[in-house]
Amino acid sequence: MQKKECIAMLLAGGQGSRLKALTKRIAKPAVSFGGKYRIIDFALSNCINSDINTVGILTQYKPYLLNSYIGNGEGWDLDGLNGQVSLLPPYFTEEGGSWYNGTADAIFKNMDFIDEMNPEYVLILSGDHLYKMDYNEMLKYHKNTKADLTVSVINVTLEEASRFGIMSVDSDLKITKFTEKPKKPDSTLASMGIYIFTWSVLRKALIEDSTDEKSEHDFGKNIIPNLLAENKRLLAYEFKGYWKDIGTIDSYYEATMDLLKDNPHIDIFSKEQKIFSNSNISPPHFVGANGKVEKSLVCNGCIIDGTVTNSILSSNVIVEKGAEVIDSILLPNVKVRAGAKVIRAIVGESSEISAKAKLGSAAKNSEIALIGDNEVYK
């Protein structure tokens, strides 16, 4: 195999407990998004669109669906002769076994994998962010500035800043201070959780961190502050595009509904930086004689004989005669039976809304109604 300049390590083990019912059964990166996608598609597509063809995916929380969805990576062209996807779950050794305890620990425990690939640089990514980014540009920047670590940052408002890891930089964008979730932020440059490390530097830092008993083995809390303290060369790389961390049900709803706008933040129709997915073979969607669809996204396999307005219908959703779906997100295989009404709701995969049932409320300030996977709502 040819030597790799840069490989990606994709952190996909998080539960995402703030997504409540949506992550009861599956890991957050596997949550369905925008009809036919799953959240991890964005990071994986960014990788292949940036010519990064070796991706280690670190899984831990309820990985079954994620594993089967990713498969051998062919959905993203990550199954080439010179590249691959590797699913990296926690494992057992002769000294015993343990879970991944923190983001840095997850990478530390897979040093063998990275050593095998023997890259110059390692790109650390999260599997639960929505954005289109050319990592190559960031890598070029990392090389040109001879950085040990480059952190991708985005400008946020001062109010938002206390939710993020915040960076203070000098005029050359050299990072001078890094604070996780500061109460009084002195900068608005937020870390996007996207790092490019020079592998030799990261390798040494991970080994040192692994023996520190007080460490939480976290990139933001431990690795980056340690490197700063050692006077390593840390640079900020400012990203100007759209980036969203889907943390809560509200932000999930908002980011999904944004796709319905005439000019959404993420253009899934663009042929450039295309978002790939593991497509299914469902038939084209069918709108019946009583069907009505307006301002919506509709996926393959849907059968619509009711009314659908301002909504997202994922693959194989059925909306029966007389049913109404308004301002809602229906995940794959949802059935809305005859005469049911669904307003401002998110309905989990393979759930069913019984005939004539009413779910959700049109009131703008009402909470988004949420039904988990495989439920029947009466």
């Binding site: 295309k274 084209p284 969607h285 069918f286 669809v293 307006e294 996926c299 059968i303």
Partner: protein
């Protein structure tokens, strides 16, 4: 040993599809919003557990090869068996009624010698139906047959189609080709299970007379084989002309037909494009339609088949039509009873109308 292998002939064409087959074989005609005709016989085979499939290619084979690729999307990219591309002769059937020439089989004789199977399913690409060949195979074995034909009772056949005549006791009396359109016939659905050794016998008998269609050769030798006929009772249609093409396309908009063909356990497979979902805008209106992925719909659609990556601009009205991949229908354009070839651009305000008997075919030529 694998019991069944599949063999599909695509090396035939005729002039009855007008411009639709000017640059492609009948097998590659786009159908049903995301498929091509070849997807139906091919899916029937793979959904019946067949993992060895030979495809006899036509003279103009670009579109077929592009569609099949390595066979990956059909589960046929395999170490053990998989997809076999069998080059057809340069002059395949392009005018007559033949579809499955003995010459094409003889030219690929090694396929029959090497393929690990004792029976072969033969099919062409002019009939639309969803069948489980395992049921046919069971019937074939029960009847201790050498050859089993799949047919439909009381069907409508067109000139050139093969029909079966039965005696009062239900015994097969003869196989003949229709001279003109006929209703209520026992229509051959272009699906056959044949013992491999019977197939090889026929090829050996006819190798010097190889312009013949395999079906005509069998018809001449009915007495020499044990022949069974399997009645298929589901939805099946022949697509033999442009008129058939549009009428069967629009028949897909019948709820029951659509569900039977597309949504059961045996899905129709096709080349995967990975396009985004369909986006409907504010004033979009759609009723009775099948719509492929990646399309952007701002106008009105009624009773129509829309393929992938189509753009329908504001105020456009499409009715009783088939709009193929990557077409752009301009603002306030009116399309009725038309077939829009791939990537056709209809300018703003244009109006095109065919009739339900004679659809207009719009192309870029």
């Amino acid at each position: 040993m694998e019991r069944l292998a599949g063999l599909i002939s695509t090396n035939y064409n005729n002039k009855r599809f007008g411009k639709l087959t000017a640059h492609r074989p009948i097998a590659a005609i786009p159908f049903g919003s995301r498929y091509r005709l070849i997807d139906f016989p091919l899916s029937n085979m793979i959904n019946s557990g067949i993992t060895n499939v030979g495809i006899i290619t036509p003279h103009l084979y670009r579109s077929i090869m592009d569609h099949l690729g390595s066979g990956k999307d059909f589960g046929l990219s395999r170490k053990n068996g998989g997809l076999f591309i069998l080059p057809g002769t340069t002059y395949g059937y392009d005018l007559g009624v033949g579809k499955f020439s003995i010459r094409d089989c003889c030219g690929n004789y090694q396929f029959f010698e090497r393929i690990k199977c004792d029976k072969i399913v033969l099919s062409t690409c002019s009939k639309i139906y969803n069948i489980d060949y395992r049921d046919v195979e069971k019937y074939h074995i029960d009847k201790d047959a050498n050859i089993t034909f799949v047919y439909q009772k009381d069907a409508t056949g067109d000139a050139g189609d093969i029909v079966f005549d039965f005696s009062d006791k239900g015994k097969l009396k003869g196989i003949r080709r229709l001279k003109k359109k006929e209703k209520k016939v026992n229509l051959y659905l272009d699906g056959t299970i044949i013992e491999k050794n019977a197939m090889i016998k026929i090829l050996d008998w006819y190798k010097d007379n190889s312009y013949m269609d395999i079906m005509d050769a069998i018809a001449e030798n009915l007495g020499r084989f044990s022949i069974a006929t399997y009645e298929f009772t589901g939805f099946a249609r022949a697509i033999s002309s442009l008129e058939d093409y549009i009428s069967v396309s629009l028949e897909l908009l019948d709820d029951k037909v659509m569900k039977e063909l597309f949504t059961g356990d045996r899905l129709i497979h096709t080349k995967i494009h990975d396009a985004p979902p369909v986006k409907y805008f504010d004033r979009a209106k759609v009723k009775n339609a099948l719509v492929g992925t990646g399309s952007i719909i701002k106008g009105q659609i009624e009773n129509s088949i829309i393929f992938r990556d189509v753009v329908v601009e504001e105020g456009a009205k499409i009715k009783n039509s088939v709009i193929m991949q990557r077409c752009k229908i301009g603002k306030k354009a009116i399309i009725e009873n038309c077939i829009c070839e791939k990537a056709v651009v209809i300018d703003d305000g244009e109006s095109h109308k065919g009739t339900d008997k004679k659809p207009a075919v719009l192309t870029n030529d």
